[in-house]
Structure formats: structure tokens, C-alpha cells
């Protein structure tokens, strides 16, 4: 990897240099009554709106790659025959300005399912490939357990990554495009002092985590505790509202719905992201439901993330961003659920 140092005051120049793309970045969305700022990712026209000091966004960057709703195909009909039209819906190249490590890791995980699999998803792939990503370092929040999930640092999946080292940004340069871009931005090569500052920043971050998840042997524990009582307790709380999956940067389940045009001469096929917590997630025609109780659905969500995905890709599908726990009105958080299942496994031994 190549490293550069970018003086902070040159950041706007970098921003401007990306103007041929649609820039997406963190912005302030609203404030809670207690004054806490709620952030979100949105299109940014003015550099001033960019809030690189954001804590975490309520919603993940997922929708720019996997929209909550997306047209998969349109049809035009004539009599008993028809034609199908497909478009990957990736029009403008996008630049993501300021993505945290966890979210980039989340995209890397999605890549495994969406691109490096037997049936690559072209809708995702097209958007992923046309997006230029600038990462930014972050300060651990109380709900963050990315370190436990091995997602607090990121090695690939971005174009450049900025770390705030005081007056400058320490830049990890991943792609040739990023390298070219930085040429005109007034960077310099890092000195050993810069290296030291960068290392120190990493240590500070490491020390900043207050939330942890013990994932040792988790796949086995989940299997052992498949019938555990705790699931029932969590199930009782769960609203089956799908909020957790919606805010999650890696949840990708979906449903497909087809619509007939009002004039009956065309149709539209649309996917919408679903959530395994929703009541009819596993319901089939005729009414049989493979997971009718909410605890079975909630359990399945943990199963998929922390067992199934590990089995298939040697890593969990959870990056520990803590969004689902924060958003869940019922207060169901990953660290607590996992800890409760682990406790159950340990029993009174």
C-alpha cells in the first residue's frame, strides 16, 4: 500500500476534484430532544455540509449499493407474448466521501455474496464498481463492537482512507484512480513522524472500545443452544418490525413483487429488501409458515449472521457497527443476545 499525507486545508480541493461524480457523504439529519445529532448519508452539493466528524449514521450506506427498492425488470406485453427489459440502474458514478471502516468491511462482506458467488448480482456489482470510496477514521461509540468482529480496520474495498493525525490526514492509497486524484491535491510523502502519529491514532482507537462481544466458538454455541430458553425471552420482546435488518449494513434478504401496469400493457418486477424478522418471511403459498413464532425468526437472524455466513466465508456477516441495537425500540442488541446465549451454554458449570 502507498501512503500520503494530505494537509487538512486541501480537503476541499479533493472534494472539488471529485465533482464529476455524485458525491455522497455524512450529513446532519436531525437532532434528538437531548441535543444529540443524528447523521445520515446523503448527496452533498456543498463541501460545508459534509460532517466528517460524524459519530455513526442511523442508516447504513447500503442503499447506495442495494437500494431498499429496486426495479429488476420491466416488461412490455402483447397478447400472450412479451419482452423483458433489464437495467442495472447504475447511472451516475458515485463518490462516497467519508465511510467508516466497519461500513467498508460490510461492503466487502456483501461482495462475497453479491459478486464472488455463483450468480453475481449485476445490480449490486454495477453500483459497487462505479463507486469511488474515501474512508475516514472514527472514534468508537458506546454501541460499537466492530473490534470484536474484526472489522475495526479495513484492508481493501476502498480507494483511499483518511486518518486524522492533527493538522493533516494520513492517506492510505488503494487505487490508481485515488493516486491520480491525489497528485493534484497537494499531498506529500509521510515522514516517520507521520507514521508515528498514525500508529498512535490507531492505539487510541483501540483503547476507546467499551463494548465487546466474545465470539469464540460462537458457531458451536449457537448450534448447542438452538433450543435455549433465552431465545423465547428475546422473541417476546421483538416487534418483528424489520428495523434491525433495514439499518444493518450487511442484511441483504429480499422479496420480489411484480406489478401490472394500469393499462395492462406492461409490468414491472421490483425487489424490496426484506427482513427475516418479518412474520411472513418463511411463509409459503397455502399458508404454511416455517417460522411462525417471533423467536424462531430472531434466532434465525443470528444464525445467518454468526453461523451460516461463518461456515461459508470464514467470517461473520456482522461488522459490529451497533446500528441494529441502537435502532431497535425493544432494545435487542447483538452483544446482549450473544452474551445471553453464551451464558446459557456455560450453564452452571
Amino acid at each position: 500500500m502507498l501512503f500520503k499525507v494530505l494537509p487538512k486545508y486541501r480537503l476541499q480541493a479533493l472534494f472539488d476534484a471529485l465533482s464529476s461524480r455524485r458525491i455522497i457523504g455524512p450529513v446532519e439529519k436531525a437532532r434528538r430532544p437531548d441535543g444529540e445529532v443524528l447523521y445520515g448519508f446523503d448527496a452533498i452539493c456543498r463541501f460545508e455540509d459534509l460532517r466528517l466528524d460524524y459519530t455513526t449514521t442511523t442508516h447504513s450506506p447500503k442503499k447506495f449499493f442495494l437500494p431498499h427498492r429496486e426495479v429488476l425488470a420491466t416488461f412490455s406485453l402483447s397478447g400472450t407474448t412479451w419482452e423483458k427489459m433489464v437495467d442495472d440502474n447504475a447511472y451516475l458514478p458515485v463518490a462516497f466521501f467519508g465511510m467508516h471502516a466497519c461500513d467498508i468491511n460490510a461492503l466487502n462482506k456483501l461482495d462475497k455474496v453479491m459478486i464472488d458467488s455463483s450468480y453475481p448480482n449485476p445490480y449490486y456489482a454495477a453500483k459497487r464498481r462505479s463507486t469511488f470510496i474515501i474512508g475516514i477514521d472514527c472514534v468508537p461509540q458506546p454501541q460499537c463492537f466492530c473490534r470484536s468482529m474484526g472489522a475495526d480496520t479495513v484492508l481493501h474495498g476502498f480507494d483511499m482512507f483518511l486518518t486524522d493525525i492533527g493538522g493533516d490526514y494520513f492517506v492510505e492509497v488503494q487505487s490508481a484512480e485515488a493516486y491520480e486524484l491525489l497528485k493534484g491535491a497537494g499531498t506529500r510523502d509521510p515522514s516517520s513522524h507521520d507514521h508515528a502519529l498514525f500508529m498512535k491514532k490507531g492505539d487510541m482507537k483501540k483503547a476507546g472500545f467499551s463494548c465487546q462481544v466474545d465470539a469464540t466458538d460462537l458457531t458451536k454455541i449457537l448450534d448447542m443452544e438452538f433450543q435455549a430458553e433465552v431465545w423465547l425471552d428475546w422473541g417476546k420482546k421483538c416487534l418483528s418490525c424489520g428495523t434491525c435488518a433495514n439499518v444493518c449494513p450487511t442484511c441483504y434478504c429480499y422479496g420480489v413483487q411484480e406489478y401490472v401496469d394500469l393499462d395492462l400493457r406492461g409490468a414491472l418486477k421490483e425487489m424490496h429488501l426484506y427482513s427475516c424478522n418479518l412474520i411472513d418471511f418463511a411463509e409459503v403459498a397455502g399458508g404454511h409458515n416455517f417460522r411462525p413464532e417471533s423467536h424462531t425468526r430472531l434466532k434465525y437472524r443470528f444464525y445467518h449472521k454468526h453461523r451460516g455466513f461463518v461456515e461459508a466465508f470464514e467470517a461473520s456477516l456482522c461488522v459490529g457497527c451497533g446500528r441494529c441495537g441502537t435502532a431497535c425500540l425493544a432494545g435487542i442488541t447483538v452483544p446482549e443476545v450473544i452474551a445471553s446465549v453464551r451464558r446459557e451454554a456455560q450453564g452452571d458449570a
Binding site: 455474496v113 450468480y119 429480499y254 418471511f281 418463511a282 453461523r307
Partner: protein, 299 residues
């Protein structure tokens, strides 16, 4: 903005990258319903042929695999191919009208164009089974996915040992493929049919398939060597059947079942078909019984 679809999929003029499936994700073969045969009050057999003759030749599948069938604006759903794999681009689906797409299909006419994608999923290892004694056990609609390996075995009947087919339905009126029973028997198949509730004209077996199976296996017959079983039907049924077969010494990895779950893509993306955390569409629908034991939610 939308372009008519032609394989391979080209996105917005960008070139194809390695790793991207050239057949395309949303690609479906244009096909035509060439014939429709009502089998019962709720099930019909659809003969479907790919429109493009060259694609027809290259379309191959293995017994047990399924396709996604699509009707624009109505829906898309998975169906097991129920015909012989030797007939490439000319497949038969037996479909029960239970929901939206299936209900609409019940009303379409011959000549209607449908979209077919696939074939998807795992299959019954009919080559591996060569030389063995076969136990096909089907309950209800389970005969549909089972018909394909059955056809395939009948086409090279001499390579297999005994072929048993035990098939049960609720009532005689719900029995599928009745017109073929005689033909099957001519191929030296021990075909045993049973119903739960007989009607006036019924003079065959009455009772669960498990009873027939048990009778067949009575006398301490061991299935430990070179027997294979293919079991399809509702979950309660196949559990009992598999237990009986295990009892008779059939190793779990020589017992195959086909599982069904809700599916929206068939391509390992939508997650709807997961059992435990296993994709039925990729790792299934055909599983050996050992794998099923390991799928926490299967039964």
C-alpha cells in the same frame, strides 16, 4: 432507458468483468407453454419449450433440479422439473394452483409465453446410484420432483437393480400421473399406490405409505448394501419414512430428500429459502439425509 434483453447481460455499456455470470442474473429463457394437461382438480401438467432452438439444445438439467418460472406482472416461483433430463429444452412442470402465480397459470392458454431461468440447485446422483436397488417414496405432490429421476432411471433401466415406487395421496382423485402407472409397471417397477381416504371405486391400498414400506421391508431385509432411497413429500412424512429406512440399515448418505422453502431468486441471494442458515436453492433442494439432520430447522 430500459433495453430489451439479450444474453449475455451487458450493463450500461460496460464490459463484462471476470466473475460476472455471463448468463446474467435476471436472464430468463423465453419459453412457450406448448401443452396443458389437467391431472386433478388442482394440478396441471405444463409442457414448456424454449423458443430458441439453439438454446433448447444447450439447455440441460439434472433430475431433481428446479427452474424459476416467470409471468410478467404476476410473479416468479420455483418448480421442480418433472420430466426426463434427456429432453433438454422441452420440460414438463406439474403445478398445483395454490397462490398467485400458480392460480394465474391455472387460467392461461396454450401458447402463452413464460420466462424460464435455471436450472438451479442440486440433483439426485443417478449415476452414483447405478447398480443399486432403488426405493422411491413419494407423498402427495412429492411425486413431482421424483418423476424426473424416475424417468431417467427408466431410460437406462438395465443399469439399476430393483426399482420400488411407493406413492400415496389423500384420496384417489388426488393421485397424479395415473395414466402412466401401467407404463411404469411395464418397466419392471414395483409400484404400490395407497390413499388415506378411499372412494367408491377404489380397490387398492388404504393407509399410510409407511405401512407399505414397513411391509416391504419386513422379514429382516437389510438395505445396508447398494440400496438408495429418494423420498419426497411433506416433512412429517419423510421423517417417518427415513426413520424406517434407517432402521432397515440404509446409510443416511444414500437417502435423498427434496426440500421446499419459500424462494424469490433461486440464486442464493434473497435468503428466503434458508434452513438454519443453509440455502435450499444452492445446497438443495436435494439433500442427503445426513445433511438434513444437520440443518437445525429442517424437520
Amino acid at each position: 432507458m430500459h433495453r430489451p434483453f439479450t444474453p449475455p447481460l451487458m450493463h450500461s455499456g460496460r464490459e463484462q468483468r471476470p466473475g460476472e455470470d455471463p448468463a446474467g442474473f435476471e436472464y430468463s429463457y423465453m419459453a412457450e407453454i406448448t401443452n396443458i394437461y389437467p391431472l386433478t382438480a388442482t394440478e396441471k401438467l405444463y409442457q414448456i419449450q424454449l423458443c430458441d432452438s439453439s438454446l433448447r439444445r444447450s439447455f440441460t438439467f439434472r433430475p431433481g433440479q428446479f427452474v424459476m418460472l416467470e409471468l410478467p406482472g404476476i410473479g416468479e416461483a420455483p418448480f421442480s422439473i418433472s420430466s426426463s433430463p434427456l429432453r433438454h429444452g422441452d420440460i414438463e412442470l406439474c403445478i398445483r394452483a395454490v397462490g398467485n402465480l400458480t392460480g394465474f397459470l391455472d387460467r392461461v392458454k396454450r401458447g402463452t409465453q413464460v420466462g424460464i431461468s435455471g436450472p438451479f440447485g442440486t440433483s439426485f446422483p443417478v449415476e452414483e446410484m447405478e447398480g443399486g436397488d432403488m426405493y422411491f417414496v413419494a407423498g402427495g405432490l412429492g411425486i413431482v420432483p421424483l418423476r424426473s429421476p424416475l424417468c431417467s432411471i427408466l431410460e437406462s433401466r438395465s443399469r439399476y437393480g430393483e426399482v420400488n415406487l411407493i406413492y400415496g395421496a389423500n384420496t384417489p382423485r388426488k393421485l397424479l400421473f395415473t395414466y402412466q402407472y401401467d407404463a411404469w409397471r411395464r418397466f419392471d417397477i414395483d409400484l404400490q399406490i395407497t390413499v388415506d381416504e378411499p372412494d367408491a371405486g377404489w380397490d387398492g391400498h388404504v393407509g399410510f405409505i409407511t405401512a407399505i414400506l414397513e411391509k416391504k421391508l419386513a422379514g429382516g431385509r437389510s438395505l445396508a448394501h447398494n440400496a438408495y432411497a429418494v423420498v419426497c413429500g411433506p416433512p412429517v412424512m419423510f421423517r417417518y419414512v427415513c426413520d424406517i429406512l434407517t432402521e432397515a440399515g440404509l446409510p443416511m448418505q444414500r437417502m435423498f430428500v427434496s426440500l421446499e422453502r419459500r424462494m424469490h431468486c433461486g440464486r442464493g441471494k434473497c435468503c428466503r429459502c434458508n434452513i438454519g442458515s443453509t440455502y435450499t436453492c444452492l445446497k438443495g433442494p436435494v439433500f442427503d439425509y445426513w445433511s438434513v439432520m444437520n440443518l437445525k430447522e429442517a424437520i
